[in-house]
Subunit: 462 residues, 2 copies
Amino acid sequence: MASRQQNDHSVLKGVYRYLDKHFEKYIEILRQLCQQPSVSAQGVGIAETATLVRNLLESIGVTTRVIDAGGFPVVYGETDGESPRTLAFYNHYDVQPADPLDQWDYEPFSAETHGKRMFGRGVADNKGNIVARIAAVDAFKKVCGKPPLNIKFVIEGEEEIGSPHLDKFAEDNRRLAAADGYIWEYAQTDFRERPQIRLGQKGMLYVELHSHTASQQLHSSWGGIVPNAAWRLLWAIAKLKGENEKICIPGFYDRVRPLSKQDIEMLARLDFGEAAWKEQFEIDQYLLDFSMNELLEAYFYRPTCTVCGLEGGYTGPGQKTVLPNSALAKLDFRLVPDQDPDEILELLEQHLADCGFADIEVKVCSRKPAGRTPPNDPLVTAAIDAAKSVYGKRPQIYPTSAGSGPMAILCHKYGIPAVSVGLGYWGSNTHAPNENIRLEDFSKGMRHIAAIMYLYADISSH
Amino acid sequence: MASRQQNDHSVLKGVYRYLDKHFEKYIEILRQLCQQPSVSAQGVGIAETATLVRNLLESIGVTTRVIDAGGFPVVYGETDGESPRTLAFYNHYDVQPADPLDQWDYEPFSAETHGKRMFGRGVADNKGNIVARIAAVDAFKKVCGKPPLNIKFVIEGEEEIGSPHLDKFAEDNRRLAAADGYIWEYAQTDFRERPQIRLGQKGMLYVELHSHTASQQLHSSWGGIVPNAAWRLLWAIAKLKGENEKICIPGFYDRVRPLSKQDIEMLARLDFGEAAWKEQFEIDQYLLDFSMNELLEAYFYRPTCTVCGLEGGYTGPGQKTVLPNSALAKLDFRLVPDQDPDEILELLEQHLADCGFADIEVKVCSRKPAGRTPPNDPLVTAAIDAAKSVYGKRPQIYPTSAGSGPMAILCHKYGIPAVSVGLGYWGSNTHAPNENIRLEDFSKGMRHIAAIMYLYADISSH
């Protein structure tokens, strides 16, 4: 790679020049895409946005298909390149709801530019990245005739609602979904302006626990003799994790891999910014007074059990003396590679029953396995080298995102490596009011993608 | 008493005849009172209702005062009787909110009569009882010139919001509030049409527990290293009561009296209707598979700890992966005589701190001690004998209500006995849509009050 970087540097320079020259055009494309709402949670603007994305791909000579896998459609595209190698881009054209609207400084679907930043729902997550990837492919086509390697686009419309149909898409379309590697949808520069590269995603088992006791909410004077749904639920949840943060479900940790020498080395090279996060969150300390090593291990390599929501009885102002007859908790388990969400669900249900809580109903909201790409994979090397060249800084390599997503069901399940890169920054406010990108990051993001294409096209070790 | 009942039965018969003859008048008074909303929780119609009640008392020759103890006013009244003994009536002119309005068959403040029942918010709890007591006093005055004993009325306007100022009223107005005995506001006939007589009320410590961890609600990918307010709260609450229903706060039970021989005898005579309640609540069993004795002891004689409400994080539809930074629980402790709410609060706070949950903030909503009247008190005897005579059935004697109220702070604290009687029935739907009374019960309720006045006036043992 180093040799190619030196030898044909002029090719990449030509692509960069093209991107710079047509920067305003790509800005306008991004603006148009962001002005089209596409809120999957509310089913708003989905068909229009899928069509818009498809037309964008067609306009740069990408052959497209719109694929129905049972939910909102996947916009698929492919175009041939110089090398037999294939690089795929996973993105999503849907966005989070814009609420709370009153906390935005600019109308969320106006895509206004202010102070060298563009504001709008979806501009960072994930439309900016869609356009940057389209731009990079476009530039190669214009400058060199075709990209340095085969390109595929898999742009789904359900990421923000948990990608409920992407596993079916991946199963039903093996030939289309196949690639040597995937560039995943999003990443951002950190507080010190270093680009992040994330090598995986945690898995997920999201469940609701329901407790139901009597036919109606009762006067709490019955508290001494009638079962209380809130107490049942509290006691049941308390069986799942102790104050030492250890998840108590027998067998839960059985498949968790011990850290390898490579894992430990990756953590040692990471500058996590733990003090800055603590300050931002206004917390005195992380859980259990973790050492730095324990903190990073817990964050990246350990599964979690989080109570995301709790509800039962009366919670309005003042005092109401009721005995709840129903109560609800939402919990997510963030899983690590080799943990099987189906197996974890079985263990959870068995544990509840063993503890005397067979009356607690478990409803599954979603389940996804985890996946991680080995740090020595050629795709990772290409992403790192490209980042160093474009950003002039050593990127921060995260062994995985601590978040979850469908990376494993599209990639790792089929032995395909994937890495997340992207053009957000530490202030992008994804999923929040005033989502924005810096125009300079938009430019760098295009170059980063172009450089990855260029370097990955020719890696000899593959 | 038996002798008086026989000798002067003609006096009481004359009073009953008067009540019957003027029944329509009392119905109209009740209708007028129920058509006047008086929702203390919303501050609606309070002054108007207090004036209406005052005018009602004045209209039957009762001397009144409207007393401000810091909240909604207490309407106080007194009128002299034949005997030096004084019987006081505790009632409240405020009502619960009428919501949910769409579940009413008739407009809640129209006080319509249908099928020999009057429907309306407050008609059972507590306006029907106010009017029945006024009617009984009125009838004695009309038939005999004056009641058989001195009468006082203490009619407050804050019962439905926890009587926050009645302790101050009682302290500031010792002379006015003094009496030989109090007839409390409400009771009802049971499924077998037997009148209930309740000899006390449980106490109350109602608290909110607040957990607060970070500055904002976070993405749940932080769950492995950042404290979670919902987990903190869950673990803290689980320290308060175990699945064996034993409250784990050290010292909590220290002042709970063991059951006396008298208590055990009272329970043995009670027909609780446990099967009917189970059916109504659609529960398979009471807590812990209680035996009948354990059930009644738990219900009447044991303190409780009830989670009334739980709230934290996301509880809307579907999946949202958040880490709650704040969570709330509402708990009530129903206390028994000799338990001091202030002491219980201290024990609670100490226990949380001892268990490592000093971060959980405890906010007090209300605190009231419990009180019970001995079953051999002459007032109890009068109430029982009067009930037998009016209803033709042996009343069900409850050693206490399992509910709470200000009985102890108005009565037992000052050594005054109190008993609850009233004209509701098993279908009165107090605090619920379609609150109603049967007109026949309204008539019996007046007679019962008249008979209690008559019998209690002359009890020699006092």
